[in-house]
């Protein structure tokens, strides 16, 4: 404290406010033991921290340091600073002195002014007496005195003289007062001199520059220590050879003599040392200060990262003499930074993943939208369309004249075209949204080509030759998505036919080596593996050319050929129609399967569309299998060499299509719908329920549209049934759905242990029809049950009458004879048990008395009381719900012969009928 106060006093004395000091003033280090107290500027309390500076920590080559200071720019600038500072201070002192002088001058002027005033006063005072000079000499003297007095700088007070003027007393008094004034003046003079001396003395105390400089230096040093004492900083100076001349290190692990005069490499060992040395050298060479982070891995202080600042040092001749070097340990910071970087990286990765996810979500949403569109499409367009097409198809089976049939065919094909358009759009959106899945099935390329051509030929309305040419090396059986391949082929062929007016259209198939674009092809194999094909199969690349001799495609139209909704020109679009989607779909499908679709064309000479696709070669020995999978055409024409035939040609068949009695082959090509022999059944399904529900009519219609496949296939079959044993020849496009539906139904059947499928039932029904049809009465009040029972009976080949309650049953039995009664137990009006009792009593007694007693209206009955069958016991089978009130015992007790527990199943019903109708 004392120390500080002293310092403060000193500061005050020095009063160097103008000076822009290098060092803050509240820092000082004047004490020899370097202890000083500092008030922390932003400290939390007033406590003064004792700061300890250990000067010994500084390692310095004391001899060299002054040297350095003298010879280097940095050093001289420091000295210059100090000198400048001193000069400032001197300037200040001079100014202060000047100010002092000014004050003194002012005082003197004041004094003079006062004296003048006094003299004036005095003049005024002496005016009267002076006017009367008595003695010339004396007056002369007096005047001289007066002048003299005016010269003098004294005389302030007015001299009060009581005595009479010009008396002795007067003069005496005057002399006295003058004497006093003189004394005062002398006194003042003395004081002035004193003051002057004093000021001289202070000046002397200011005038020692060395002392001041020393003090400043001390303060600078103190400040440095204050700042640096805890800083994790190493400072040093190295010479041209990078030998340490000076080093400051807060936490020295080495002694001074271990370091000075040595280089980094000599001192340390380990990672980073060489790097730092190189860095320093680099700075030295380039002459440009720079910073770098270097991680040291030394035995001395472990793994630490230092931020090193190195600047070159020049001497006054601008020659490099070494470097200044400052290192700060930033290990923690680096670690933090690395952590941050890692976090940031993680963040970025997460963000990327997020965006990926969003993308996926987006795709999913797209897919959903596509699905939504599918649904909407189906509802909004398909249902009415299938209604239209369905009706048209039914119409086409009726008797029509030639013109009507033509119109109808146009109608149907237009409907099919719209359907195709919808399919196209849906296909495309499916492929684009990535939901399209490929299916791997075995198929025969030759057949596919043949079928496509046959189909095309069937609807051909031009004089064109269609041909297919399949190279011998093309495998008989390959694996691929036959539906899609067929779709592509059909599309390309119909395109070719559309744009070709004469000549021929054909398909060429040949095996090619693996193309270059498919070197890294995993897509297809993946897709196929997904489909469960894990057998080892060799794959083969087949090139398929679809060529024509049509109008060709201008070169400038080729690029946009595969784009959606684009046609070669607006002109073409008008002339040829079409959606412009076909080729886009083909291309996408081909690419989806890992292939490539290309086109070459010459205007007016024709075009060739080529697609290359990989297939797997399947072993072709499992013929039993493919019978199911493949199309009907093979079966229709079971030529022995069909599977290996390599060339097909279809000559124009114009004219035959529109007539029913065309050649056989033409008939084969006709769409099936033209040959539906039994529209009645279809109609039956369609108008199956003409009852109340108008709201259902649409649904019914729709389902009918879907169902029409079945009867067609079934009814179509018998004509050629003898040709193939298993009636499985189906159009491949319907293959999957019909398979699945039949599969589904067979599943249900199997669950049910129904011994005979429908065919048996039908045969049974036929057998029944030959014999006498038994009469059955169903007594049941529940509409649903009636419906179900009716349907079951129908399947079993029976019909029955219906009574809604016991009374109706009695009425019915009375009016007509039945072979069997199925009696519900629980019914309103008259329940089954009572009714049975009454019937039994009638059988026994031959009259309905009991019934009359029971309150049944017998009026009608009485007339026909004597029935022929009264002697025969009528089998009555109860239908019970197996509740307590409907126990079997009760049924038997009431005269029933048997019972079927509800719900009635086909099986139960069948067994029961078998038992009682034979």
């Amino acid at each position: 404290m004392v120390c500080e106060m002293e310092t403060d006093q000193q500061m005050e004395e020095m009063d160097v406010e103008v000076l822009s000091s290098m060092w803050p003033e509240d820092v000082g280090g004047t004490e020899p033991d370097n202890q000083f107290n500092v008030e922390k500027p932003a400290g939390d309390s007033d406590t003064l921290k004792e700061v300890d500076i250990a000067e010994k920590r500084t390692m310095a080559d004391l001899k060299r340091l002054p040297d350095l200071l003298n010879t280097t720019d940095q050093g001289s600038s420091q000295l210059t600073n100090l000198v400048k500072q001193w000069e400032y201070m001197q300037d200040h002192a001079v100014r202060l002195l000047r100010e002092e002088l000014k004050i003194l001058t002012k005082q003197r002027e004041e004094a003079e002014a006062k004296e003048l005033k006094i003299i004036e006063e005095h003049n005024f005072e002496t005016e009267e007496p002076e006017n009367v000079p008595v003695l010339d000499e004396s007056s002369d003297l007096f005047r001289r005195f007066k002048e003299k007095k005016r010269d003098k700088l004294v005389g302030r007070k007015r001299i009060e003289i009581d005595e009479e003027f010009d008396t002795v007393a007067y003069w005496k008094q005057k002399a006295l007062s003058l004497e006093k004034m003189l004394e005062a003046s002398t006194e003042r003079e003395r004081r002035l001199i004193e003051k002057l001396n004093e000021s001289l003395k202070t000046m002397e105390s200011h005038s020692a520059p060395v002392e001041e400089l020393t003090q400043n230096l001390k303060r600078a040093e103190g400040f440095l220590h204050f700042i640096l004492q805890n800083a994790p900083i190493v400072m040093g100076h190295q010479d041209k050879d990078l030998r340490y001349l000076f080093i400051y290190n807060k936490f020295p692990t080495l002694r001074e003599h271990d370091i000075l005069g040595k280089t980094d490499v000599e001192i340390f060992h380990g990672g980073g040392v060489k790097e730092s040395e190189d860095f320093k050298r680099e700075v030295l060479e380039k002459g440009k200060a720079s910073k770098r982070e270097i991680t040291f891995e030394t035995d001395l202080f472990g793994s630490k990262t230092f931020l090193i600042y190195v600047e070159p040092v020049y001497n006054k001749a601008r020659e490099k003499i070494g470097i200044n070097y400052m290192g700060m340990e930033v290990t923690d910071q680096v670690r933090k930074r690395e952590k941050m970087a890692k976090l940031r990286e993680d963040n970025a990765v997460r963000k990327a993943m997020e965006s990926e996810l969003t993308k996926t979500i987006h795709i999913t949403e797209e897919t959903m939208r596509a699905k939504q569109m599918l649904a909407t499409m189906s509802h909004e367009i398909r249902s009415p369309l299938s209604g239209v097409v369905g009706m048209a198809e039914i119409l086409s089976t009726t008797k029509l004249d030639k013109e009507q049939r033509q119109l109808l065919n146009v109608m149907i094909s237009s409907g099919d075209l719209v359907l195709q358009l919808i399919n196209d759009i849906l296909d495309l959106s499916k492929v684009e949204s990535g939901v399209m899945k490929l299916e791997a099935t075995k198929f025969r390329p030759r057949e596919v080509v043949k079928h496509v051509l046959q189909t095309a030929a069937a609807s051909l309305k031009k004089e064109l030759t269609l041909e297919g040419n399949i190279a011998d090396e093309v495998p008989i059986l390959v694996i691929g998505d036959v539906l899609r391949i067929r779709q592509i082929l059909t599309n390309l062929i119909s395109n070719a036919i559309k744009f070709t007016h004469q000549g021929k259209v054909g398909i060429k198939l040949k095996v090619i080596p693996e193309p270059s674009f498919a070197s890294g092809l995993e897509l297809n194999t993946d897709a196929e593996e997904q489909n469960g094909l894990t057998e080892t199969e060799t794959s083969v690349w087949i090139r398929c050319d679809v060529y024509d001799t049509g109008i060709g495609i201008p070169e400038n139209a080729l690029p946009c050929l595969f784009k959606k909704y684009m046609q070669a020109s607006a002109d073409h679009a008008r002339k040829y129609g079409g959606t412009g989607l076909g080729l886009a779909i083909c291309k996408q499908l081909v690419e989806l399967m890992g292939g490539q679709l290309t086109v070459t064309s010459q205007v007016n000479l024709g075009s060739t569309f080529t697609f290359i696709l990989p297939y797997k070669v399947a072993a072709s020995n499992d013929h039993s299998d493919d019978q199911d999978e493949f199309s009907d055409m093979v079966d229709h024409q079971p030529e022995p060499d069909d599977s290996t035939e390599g060339y097909f040609q279809f000559k124009p068949l114009l004219g035959s299509i529109y007539s029913n009695g065309g050649p056989v082959i033409g008939n084969n090509f006709l769409p099936h719908k033209a040959m539906l022999p039994s529209p009645v059944k279809l109609m039956n399904g369609f108008v199956a329920d003409p009852s109340d529900n108008t709201g259902q009519s649409e649904a019914v219609q729709v389902e009918n549209g879907g169902y029409k496949d079945e009867p067609r296939l079934e009814t179509h079959r018998p004509e050629t049934a003898h040709q193939y044993e298993n009636g499985n020849g189906r159009c491949p496009s319907k293959e999957s759905e019909s398979c699945s539906s039949s599969q589904a139904s067979s599943e249900m059947e199997s669950e049910f242990t129904v011994s005979s499928p429908r065919e048996d039932v039908q045969t049974e029904a036929e057998v029944k029809e030959t014999s006498k049809q038994p009469k059955i009465l169903l007594v049941e009040d529940n509409k649903i049950n009636i419906m179900v029972a009716k349907s079951m009976m129908k399947q079993l080949g029976y019909t029955f009458d219906i009574a809604n309650n016991g009374v109706e049953a009695i009425t019915a039995i009375n009016s007509s004879s039945y072979d069997l009664v199925l009696m519900d137990v629980c019914m309103p009006v008259l329940d089954g048990l009572k009714a049975t009792r009454l019937i039994r009593s009638y059988e026994e007694s031959g009259n309905w008395d009991a019934a009359v007693e029971a309150g049944v209206d017998i009026k009608v009955l009485e007339n026909k009381q004597m029935s022929v069958r009264s002697t025969n016991r009528l089998p009555i089978i109860a239908m019970t719900a197996n509740t307590l009130s409907e126990s079997s015992e009760e049924c038997y007790a009431n005269g029933m012969d048997s019972f079927i527990s509800k719900p009635v199943t086909l099986q139960k019903l069948k067994e029961c009928l078998k038992q009682y109708l034979h």
């Binding site: 649904a375 189906s378 398909r382 249902s383 299938s386 099919d416 075209l417 359907l419 399919n423 849906l426 296909d427 299916e439 079928h451 059909t490 769409p671 059944k681 039956n684 399904g685 199956a688 529900n693 259902q696 649904a699 019914v700 729709v702 389902e703 549209g705 879907g706 169902y707 496949d709 009867p711 079934e714 496009s733 999957s736 759905e737 019909s738 699945s740 539906s741 589904a744 249900m748 059947e749 049910f752 529940n782 509409k783 649903i784 049950n785 179900v788 349907s791 079951m792 129908k794 399947q795 519900d824 629980c826 309103p828 719900a881 509740t883 509800k902 719900p903 009635v904 199943t905 086909l906």
Partner: protein, 154 residues
């Protein structure tokens, strides 16, 4: 929608049916119905279920009216209605509706009015659940049929 959708839809239908069977909403009788559907009556199941819903709706409405009447005592009528409902429900294989109807019926046999009210509640709930499920099923079925109807003009 391209013929590929058929399998998926069929799978959906089968899944839905399986779950309904698991829950006991339906029983084998429903399969009977399906089996009865053939080309001569392609909409048989749909028709039957529709009629069932029509009828049941009427019955439930009537039951509610009966039970809501404060001076009501006609438990016999309730029993008859319930018999109807039980019968038709078991006919179409609506097991759960049938079961809760049976419970309802036993409550009505005991002239237990609160039991009846509770029973009605439960029956209505089950009925509506069944109706929703059936609706879904038919919708799927319809979609499947549409999908099955897709043909490439060849």
């Amino acid at each position: 929608m391209l013929g590929l959708g058929v399998d998926r839809l069929q799978a959906d239908i089968n899944r839905l049916l399986t779950s309904l069977f698991h829950q006991g909403v339906l029983d084998e009788q429903f399969l009977q119905l399906q089996q009865l559907q053939d080309e001569t009556s392609p909409t048989f199941v749909y028709d039957v279920i529709n009629i069932y819903f029509d009828e049941s709706e009427k019955l439930l409405r009537s039951l509610r009216l009966l039970l809501m009447d404060r001076e009501f005592s006609d438990y016999k009528k309730i029993g008859l209605h319930l018999n109807q409902l039980v019968g038709s429900s078991s006919s179409i294989g609506a097991r759960r509706v049938r079961n809760v109807c049976v419970a309802f019926r036993s409550a009505s046999e005991l002239n237990n009015r609160p039991g009846c009210l509770r029973g009605l509640e439960v029956v209505e709930h089950e009925y509506h659940y069944l109706k929703n499920m059936m609706h879904e099923l038919f919708q799927l079925e319809q979609q499947r049929l549409l999908a099955a109807g897709v043909r490439y003009p060849m």
